[in-house]
Subunit: 399 residues, 2 copies
């Protein structure tokens, strides 16, 4: 069986994702569509609007055959580690190809940029280092370094986030498992950051904006598959609402103002005196936006700060991350179809261990427990207990 | 000027406290009534119904001349350390006497019990140790040890909490500063734990019960001075309500379920595997009462567990406590009258430092900041910011 990997967050699953899923299957001629999906917290340092179980079930209802969790310590990270974690997992799963969405849409130029970087590896990294030292955030530094080694002739626009991610995927494929063949598809939906809801291909950002505007999820109906509306409605009925940073603000505030500074320095991502700035910025902040505005400096992108805040909420330390990154990522199945089940069966590699719930001996048992507790903490207590129980049940299997 | 020390919590100030204050002044012939008062969290491991600033102002309006904070690391502790901190502060303030309320009401028998213990010091402590090893909580162990060294002939009832505290005060006076003369007054109000509101002397427990029954504070009017009703009303109007464990439950739940076990073991009071029991007891608990019922064992009293939970909410570690207990307690003035001001002026001891707000160089600056943040965390964010600002203002001074 041929497996094609998709690297996704599905926050929430919309028509653009559906297009990408169908087109990838056709383009790669795959039998099994493998989605490596972030868990309850996402790469941009945000809680997912609904939990990983509901998003995984939704993905399988829309044509994914296997949904594997990208562990927190790869998911809530800058794009390089995010890409590394996903490619490692797809390599373990013996995927034949991956297909990523990009604003550019042509795979050849991605190869050219990688060749250019690999051919000028030292210079590239020296330029990158200098640009970071000058106080640039990672994406701007990357762009500057790439131009300095002569990347100007290429037409890829690196201010577009999915072009950046695509480059990282390719780089990691070449490093980790060159047997995986990369494909790319031009994104149909609007710009990632677009706030307005256009039909039928709206950005996930604009869809989330609608979700939090207190309108019924039916208002997004023309931009998402019907099952998305259904699952969003179910989630809201069962747990009381969707997840966004605003709801975590009181915990974030409490935590930052009661933590001891020496411990705050141990939280993953806190460095260079940021601990004092975090505490200072919180003192007079009465909402998340205000706090972020107090906190923001040129040195940090908005998303890198949000990732640090997720680490504070989930209480994930540098030591936690280092320990986990030193090992091979575990393969946690969140949902699958009959085809996905067959694919796993055919792997027949006895060294590959799969985990179907957050029970021992799943190696991330303790970490995932704490992360899930943090994620569900904003629900009513009774609902927290119900929501948490999903982690210990077998994954959703579509007959 | 003659100073008389009272060791208080005033949670909230009621007719029994008023009686005790007036009678103490008359009995000791003091010019200045010095109240050493717990801050925002109390000896029984509970948040005070209103903050320390409002309780201090109220105390001064009722005849106290000087309200000094008993620091957290003495206040939220078993009775021995609580007594030690209070006596140390009164010694620094050169108090001539203390006058404590007790169920017994006669000072002589308190002397006799201390003499008995001091005369049989080793045996007493061996019996105490054995009784603790057998799994008894501290008060029961104390009672057993005292009976074994022949204390049966005395009529003091050590199941009464204020008799136990009185013994500790006397013991600490003899150890720290025998120049302080102890007095005691028989308590007029009902049993400490009494739930029913009797007039005019009701227990603080029954008054708090009324406060949280959603009735207006006027229902307690016959059991408290009119200023108590006024200040309670002010506090509710300004900050939205009173403080009780139930409101902190979501923070407690969040914290216990996201903390790492190794750090939980560092929290002051967590020992002998209690860290695992804390986490286990929280999993299916949807309110404070349920959690406490899951947690309770014979080895721990309800109040000793509550004190540990306060340490979790305030994030106070063993290292924090050890560091603070190794030094002399700082003297933080929460409120005073003109007489109190004169008393301080007359002390004329240049080595005595006073602190009038939570600003550097106040040595507990950082600790108190964190404790206050935890205490106010249950208020709306805008109100948290306003409430916290009280800590940086000069103390209330009654003209």
């Amino acid at each position: 069986m041929r497996g094609c990997g998709l690297i996704v967050e599905y926050n929430p699953f919309h028509n653009g994702h559906k297009y990408h899923l169908n087109k990838s299957k056709a383009m790669t001629n795959a039998d099994c569509m493998i989605a490596v999906m972030s868990g309850n917290f996402l790469q941009r340092g945000e809680p997912a609007v609904i939990d990983k179980h509901h998003r995984a079930q939704l993905a399988v209802s829309q044509g994914a055959d296997l949904v594997i969790e990208l562990p927190y310590y790869y998911a809530v990270q800058h794009s390089e580690l995010f890409a590394e974690g996903a490619i490692r997992i797809l390599s373990l799963l013996k995927a034949d190809s991956i297909c990523f969405g990009s604003e550019h849409g042509e795979i050849n130029e991605f190869y050219e940029i990688i060749n250019l970087i690999n051919g000028n590896y030292r210079e590239y990294h020296q330029h990158l280092k200098n640009a970071l030292k000058e106080g640039n955030a990672y994406p701007a530094a990357h762009e500057a370094a790439y131009r300095k080694i002569g990347g100007n002739f290429l037409t890829i626009d690196f201010t577009k986030p999915n072009n950046v991610l695509g480059t990282q995927y390719l780089e990691k494929i070449l490093q980790i498992d060159p047997s995986i063949q990369p494909f790319t598809i031009k994104r149909q939906q609007n710009e990632y950051h677009d706030q307005s809801l256009t039909k039928p291909f709206a950005s996930a950002t604009s869809i989330r904006k609608e979700l939090f505007s207190n309108k019924p999820p039916t208002d997004i109906a023309e931009t998402v598959p019907i099952q998305t509306t259904e699952i969003l409605n179910n989630y809201r009925n069962q747990f009381g609402g969707f997840h966004s940073w605003d709801q975590y603000f009181s915990y974030l505030r409490y935590r930052i103002l009661t933590i001891n500074t020496s411990y705050l320095k141990q939280i993953h991502g806190v460095k260079e005196g940021l601990e004092n700035r975090l505490i200072r910025s919180m003192k007079d902040a009465s909402n998340f936006q205000q706090f972020m505005t107090n906190l923001k400096t040129k040195r940090y992108t908005w998303t890198s700060l949000q990732r640090i805040l997720v680490n504070i909420i989930t209480n994930i330390t540098k030591a936690d991350i280092e320990e986990k990154l030193s090992g091979s990522p575990p393969l946690r199945i969140l949902a699958m179809s009959a085809t996905g089940k067959e694919y796993l069966h055919n792997l027949k590699n006895e060294e590959i261990k799969f985990y179907t719930s957050n029970k021992k001996p799943y190696p991330d048992y303790d970490l995932d427990n704490r992360i899930a507790s943090a994620y569900y903490s904003i629900l009513e207590t009774e609902r927290q207990i119900i929501a948490k129980k999903q982690d210990f049940k077998p994954p959703f299997i579509k007959a």
